[in-house]
Symmetry: C2
Subunit: 357 residues, 2 copies
Amino acid sequence: MTRTRSSGPALAVVGATGAVGSVLLQMLSLRADVWGEIRLIASARSAGRMLVVRAEETEVIALTEDAFDGLGPGDIALFLTPADISARWAPVVTARGTVVIDLSAAFREDLEVPLVVPEVNGHAVRIRPRGIVAGPDCVTATMIAALGALHSEYALRDLVVSSYQAASAAGRAGSETLRRQQSLVAGTSLGEQPGDVRRAVGEDTGPFAAPLALNVVPWSGELRADGWSSHELAVRGETRRILQLEQLPVSVTCVQVPVLTGHSLTVRARFEREVEAAHAREILEAAPGVVLVDDPAAGEFPTPVDAAGTDPAWVGRVRVSLDDPYALEFFVCADNLRKGAALNAAQIAELIAGEFA
Amino acid sequence: MTRTRSSGPALAVVGATGAVGSVLLQMLSLRADVWGEIRLIASARSAGRMLVVRAEETEVIALTEDAFDGLGPGDIALFLTPADISARWAPVVTARGTVVIDLSAAFREDLEVPLVVPEVNGHAVRIRPRGIVAGPDCVTATMIAALGALHSEYALRDLVVSSYQAASAAGRAGSETLRRQQSLVAGTSLGEQPGDVRRAVGEDTGPFAAPLALNVVPWSGELRADGWSSHELAVRGETRRILQLEQLPVSVTCVQVPVLTGHSLTVRARFEREVEAAHAREILEAAPGVVLVDDPAAGEFPTPVDAAGTDPAWVGRVRVSLDDPYALEFFVCADNLRKGAALNAAQIAELIAGEFA
């Protein structure tokens, strides 16, 4: 049974077979269906695979010039690809008048490419001189809806963030590495003696800079000047761009933890105006894309295993600093494959499709 | 072959059979031996067990008034016990003139009980009006040697700390809970769907407020006013006491992670004086009880599986804030059973034994 798909823009998904692609295809099957054709594109290695989207078996085609045949103005291509692939292929697509939404770092610092989280700066999608819209890094995306809502009320003055990042943000290789290591250390007394986890896990730490099972790894990205990592600088730069606070002091420490899906962050935000905890909770409760889970007496606080598989950012542990009535502390978790990637891309695509309607 | 132990103070170890007790007994066998008798005391349930200390099988005796017979001035009792046991029994021991070193929270806020980390304020052991010396919480102990050294040079102005706490800080029940949960989730695809880890792990989360395997849990301690946990307030209060900065602004978020042994912290410290990264590294390199592991280009940064089983605090990821030349960020790991507990207790005991020599 093939449905007719004459109406709605076409949507090309480039990188359809990856970890974010899988989640996106599930989402497209569940969200309001605004799309005509949905075309699945991936590397030549994955071409010919059949994937289900909107309950239909769909063949994956190889990423070549021909893959975009028939797409034009009014259509959209989502790039769920590494930055080098996005940089190479996005101009091929925009040359046809098709809008590109890219989730990689390729265009996030390009001032002619809006960096968009719909709950915070959805209006920014409309001005896209290069025909490209970027989504932020998954750590930025975890906190930005909550921060944006608080900033509107209190005016953000500075930010200190520590991350607890899930393995799946490094793609399938990340999840598989953690699963393999978890099996190697399960049911043992490993983790009590120096070097025992390193010996059990072996030299192959996959996409991580050290063993991840029973460990935390304070490194993510490439080394930049003065000991900072590219990932830490990206979160700083993106937060400034999305909130339009180009001088905002932001300190970030990126740390990988042995969690499969769901990034968590501790956030200490100082504001221009004095913060009242009950009012801050009201703001968070009303913020789009945020759920407040904040009753420690009842065991209610966000954790990544609860946030995994869900759309919103879960915020809890909201408290005003004891020594500074202008500072608020909170803890936030979100599914790094959803709000951190696929969901944000789908939301941006739907906003743009709305323009075309 | 029984050695003669006529010289040196007697050392009673109360709570000898617990997780910290085991580590302490290993340490007493390896460190310079300044002790006469070493007496092992535990709950009635553990009485009669034989434990090895200084290569001798030693019988564990039950915690009763009689357990302290023969101890007097010039002897020392280490309490590795919950706060209620320490509060009940420490006065029984000090009534004999024997000095108590307590690692629980029972006396940490008592201004007549010095709170001591030998690398930072070892001099404080000498003034102990109640005959009791306390050791700090394991989170405070993880960072305090590094912070103390930096404070001496730059004068600390405020502090933001996030923890990545190991399961063994909750004793054997903590380690066993994490091991059991690790076995239940190993080799599965759990951690990707809402609730799947909770269902696999079941209702029994042991000493933790939520499942710990493949998760992080932003809660530790009891609920206090305004959403703060007792553990967070303890780290704030103890840091102020040990550094003698009673008004220091300190923000702490305590988070449990699926690591067996080794607490990690991200620290953002602002100082009165401008910080230069290379000089800060020199200070940390020279600080007693600290090792600097800070060459990310070579994959060198601290992780808990490397710090577990070792004595010092491992410090790395040292960088000056990009937006504030008065602020330093770093990451620090230490074995919560050693520097966080047994090692600190042994060091305090040796300082006091030195007074008696």
